[in-house]
Symmetry: C2
Amino acid sequence: MKFNIALLAGDGIGPEVIEQAVKVSDAVAKKFGHEITWRPALTGAAAIDAVGEPYPDETHEVCATSDAVLFGAIGHPKFDNDPSAPVRPEQGLLKMRKKLGLFANVRPTFTFPSLLDKSPLKQERIEGTDLVFLRELTGGIYFGEKGRRDEGETAFDNCVYTREEVQRLAKKGFELAMTRSKKLCCVDKANVLETSRLWRETVQAMEKDYPEVEVSYEFVDAVAMRLVQWPNSYDVLITENLFGDILTDEASVISGSMGLMPSASMGADIALFEPIHGSYPQATGLNIANPMATVLSAAMMFETAFNLPEEGQAIRDAVNKALAEGIVTEDLANGGKAYGTKEVGDWLAANI
Amino acid sequence: MKFNIALLAGDGIGPEVIEQAVKVSDAVAKKFGHEITWRPALTGAAAIDAVGEPYPDETHEVCATSDAVLFGAIGHPKFDNDPSAPVRPEQGLLKMRKKLGLFANVRPTFTFPSLLDKSPLKQERIEGTDLVFLRELTGGIYFGEKGRRDEGETAFDNCVYTREEVQRLAKKGFELAMTRSKKLCCVDKANVLETSRLWRETVQAMEKDYPEVEVSYEFVDAVAMRLVQWPNSYDVLITENLFGDILTDEASVISGSMGLMPSASMGADIALFEPIHGSYPQATGLNIANPMATVLSAAMMFETAFNLPEEGQAIRDAVNKALAEGIVTEDLANGGKAYGTKEVGDWLAANI
Ligand SMILES: CC(C)[C@H](C(=O)O)[C@@H](O)C(=O)O
Ligand SMILES: CC(C)[C@H](C(=O)O)[C@@H](O)C(=O)O
């Protein structure tokens, strides 16, 4: 098969880790007889510097006409702590999500037996954890009307959801639950928020279409607790944009494998794949960043966007083998030999 | 001195744990020569059952004319999972906060060396944790306009903050930081929300009035992570209502001492003190609930509302002694002898 893949390397360590994912994907394409055309485009601080815009129209054009988007990371310290700067990398991210219609952010948190000791949690708490968040990504308070009144003395942000927005996200949640253990948790704050009540009633009405799925409803504050206490009690969780922002980040650190966690953002027409870690500016250019999360994001791309599970599995197998043989960057080296970003990428490509 | 204290026992285990706090407070009053008049009033499901209202006007009258409020817990399973029920206990809670003007919720998370093994976190992660959240409690999305449009198909919740609301909360944060390690963290989502940008600019403008306090600004998602990774890197944190709801609950489970964590909610004229745990319906009437969080809330009451630190310390000393001697309820008994709620209360009162 032939694929066009938009390649958004972004800032910081983005370009370095993306390079390894490209290498590994090319090895997969070669082995399975596919042909990939990579279509690089600017985004983030890099795009602001080059053309004054974090998500330029040309970049959107490239993404919208590709079969998938592979994304590195964005964010640069020069924009930090200045949330009022007129142009910021994050605005590009939000614009991209909205314009590409990426309404469902899929964030798995799973564990690697050999990495359990990296978790801040005790082993018996984290063992066996394998959960997936579906975070709504193009609605809610992120995109509602916001502004000031009273000569700037009052600020407001409006959180809005339509039943349809909830339905399309929940549908993905039910479908995912059907391929897993058939347990779905709807996370809301229905004891306080009207939008949460809409979420809850919408999901409740969909239950009858998925009689095999056991649905539970939990308040966001309770989930923030139980994620730390008994993360392995969860399977598929669905939630709105802001709750998802907070909870998926909380979930990402419990496994101890943050440097390995991939993610997908799915729209009706296209999907984007990226590591959950940030642009890690301090490590830029040092050849020390762990490329495995980006490489595993490429695995998700083969599986989800191209419906090629074997190709994805080939990547996962190579990563597992690298972990078993200690072909890892310094974050996972445990005092043993640390390989460079590029060397890990080379090894993975050679082991496809 | 003479004090009138409104006594809101509430639901579930509320009445049992409140009874112990009364006993211990009375012992303190006797020892230090104070006189307490307890003024019981209805709240929560108990109030709904009795008068059809979770925070009746008579209860408000009692609270508003007292020197402090001691609160147990509210919530009853018959209202669970039915966030659309016309009258719910939580509404009483929100009404009470608003009518009493309890704008600052103070939630400490600290550790007891003897209880570190109860934490889901590894010992080296949790050791030495001693942080306090100040959560804004009467503004934000909890109290903004909310409702439906488009024949119920669209729901909205408005989040609103004024500079003044931020200032009075932040002032408490700066003042608290001055009595501790002079480190203050402002938690927001200023890269996305206009209300967060107001929070950040307001706190930034106040920095000059507290030159000794070192202020940091962190995004809510980053804090959700670092709370699990390095909780002991935090000291005083200030944040808005919804973020505070999520993060204080997350923080409460990391110490392993949830059954011991007190809290205060402060207004301009009155303050309320309550354990952070819920009404724990399954344990109601079984004489097994841990009364220590409520007893320590009474300690906070003496210290904060009455400015009587010695009286508060007498309670803390008794609790520490009980922990050291194993006079604890089953949640802390570790397979050893478990005392009843009442027996722990009696012991604490006798050891003041
Ligand atoms: C950078 C920021 C706007 C973004 C978000 O809040 O969605 C990030 O935290 C994320 O989760 O991808
Ligand atoms: C019961 C609920 C309305 C309340 C809140 O969200 O404030 C509770 O979670 C709390 O934190 O006191």
